[in-house]
């Protein structure tokens, strides 16, 4: 059988064999290392913070130190050493299984690439507030924006960035509001709208904004796209996972939440034989 291939496409593929063309950067032995046009060892290392360099690698943007510090503070808000949180429990189970720290931490990071919590919902949160601001600027009221969301979700309010599993209210916002103020940031149009949406939700549903809503609105004010915002946070939960891993690593095996056979409820079919 023939593949009926287009010769031009094969030639285009051949042009990329054994060659890498990078717009991002790379290492030139004996010359230097480059990231987005900066010489890393001359212009970045020791002169910019790790988070400034991380943000540069994640988005291509070299941001001011105070914005990098703000993003670093978020990492502190979302990396807790509590093994009841799903990604952290994976870290604890990794310790129980005596994996390496890197395996434990990457497993927890992957777990937080979830549609419910962690880093992945940043895309949905930022998409919402950026779209909501456009609608607001086009004349829709906050009430209209919320009502439209309810209509499109079969009568239920479902906005990423508002409400939260386990608890009502989010103490992390207060901590970040303090950081925002201390670092000298003003409230932009996305964050202003986010607060107005929160007020409406509070009054009608007795629920509030969560840290996702706050972060995505703030970052939208600083011109990050939804995907750029997500890219900033791919390792967001890492240190909390590592902490939970270490706790169980140093305890005897089988001691983390041990389960008796009957601690698992079996609700499958009754015992049977192969015919």
């Amino acid at each position: 059988m023939l593949s009926k291939s287009n010769l031009e496409e094969i030639q285009a593929l051949d042009k990329n064999r054994n060659i890498i063309r990078s717009k991002t950067g790379g290492w030139r032995v004996g010359e230097g290392v480059y990231s987005h046009g900066y010489s890393m060892l001359d212009e970045l290392v020791g002169k910019k913070s790790y988070f400034q360099i991380m943000i540069l690698n994640a988005t291509g943007k070299l941001v001011e130190r105070n914005l990098a510090d703000w993003i670093e503070a978020i990492y502190g808000c979302l990396s807790w050493p509590d093994p009841r949180i799903w990604c952290n429990q994976i870290g604890a189970l990794a310790g129980e299984s005596k994996t390496t720290a890197a395996a434990a931490t990457t497993a927890g990071i992957l777990a937080a690439d979830s549609k419910m919590y962690g880093s992945y919902p940043v895309i949905e949160g930022a998409t919402f507030i950026q779209s909501a601001l456009k609608q607001f600027n086009n004349g829709l009221s906050v009430k209209d924006i919320i009502d439209n969301n309810i209509k499109s979700n079969r009568g239920k309010l479902k906005i990423m960035g508002y409400a939260r599993p386990i608890a009502n209210g989010d103490e992390r916002i207060e901590a970040m509001e303090r950081v925002t103020q201390e670092l000298g940031f003003d409230k932009g149009s996305h964050l202003t709208l986010a607060y107005e949406i929160e007020e409406e939700i509070k009054q009608r549903f007795n629920d509030g904004m969560n840290i996702n809503g706050y972060v995505t609105a703030f970052l939208s004010d600083h011109k990050f796209s939804a995907h750029e915002a997500y890219q900033l946070f791919s390792t967001l939960v890492a240190s909390g996972v590592t902490a939970c891993y270490l706790e169980t690593l140093h305890k005897p095996s089988d001691s983390f939440l041990p389960l008796r056979c009957d601690d698992i409820e079996y609700n499958g079919v009754e015992p049977r034989s192969i015919e």
Partner: protein, 268 residues
Amino acid sequence: MSKHTREKAQSRNEAFSKKVATRIWKENPCDDNPYITESALCHGYDLYELMEKCSFSDMFYLLFKGELPKPCESKLLETLMIALINPGPRHPATRAAMNAGIGKTMPVHILPIAMSILGGDYLGGGEIEPAMRFLRKQQKNDPALVAKTLLDDYDNGNSIAPGFGKRFGGIDVMSQHIIERLLLLSGNKPSLEWGQQFATALHSNSMGWLTTGVAAAVFCDLGFQPKAGGVLFQLLSAPGLVAHGLELNNKPITAMPYISDEDYVIEK
């Protein structure tokens, strides 16, 4: 900046289950220690009996479907398992495994590394669920007509529909050969048959089945749920990825190409 009043966070006091429940597996404790398993049931079948009487593919099917397969289903799954066992040394996931291997990454990390890459939306598990949904939705329609409609809207790119398209500018010939062999097997295979007609209608445009489409069609015909498809695809392809990674694990770093500085172009 104005201060917003914020109430203290309060627990929702949700009613969490006291125990986790499963329909898949039951472990029976031994008489003198409730933690030690004496025997286990998989969907009601004793594991020791399954060990004696079942093939690995039967057991695989039972685990995910809850019932043992009919002989034709067992044969179809086993044939697919062989077909997918190795995406080959040029697949991005295999190349990731090889990089882990040559980089002396701990061998136990090779599989999770490669699996992460094999979860992608291009040639990976991420493409299986949409491909299964496409096949399930379109099966009631004329495949030639569906192909024509999609081709009319086609601009460029490798994919015309999830699981179908071209590789390297042409038809993915090996996927077509695999399908021909799967179609020879007995049993009801509506997705494979519909997909084959659809793929044939694409051939004149240098497109056809992709490996992901092949897997998706078989999973549909075996009655697996679309949500499970991506993970099943990862499982079936895992052995080949690991084999390639391990093959390089004991070799010097010079055993793999390393692009020279001359061939590494930093564009402004």
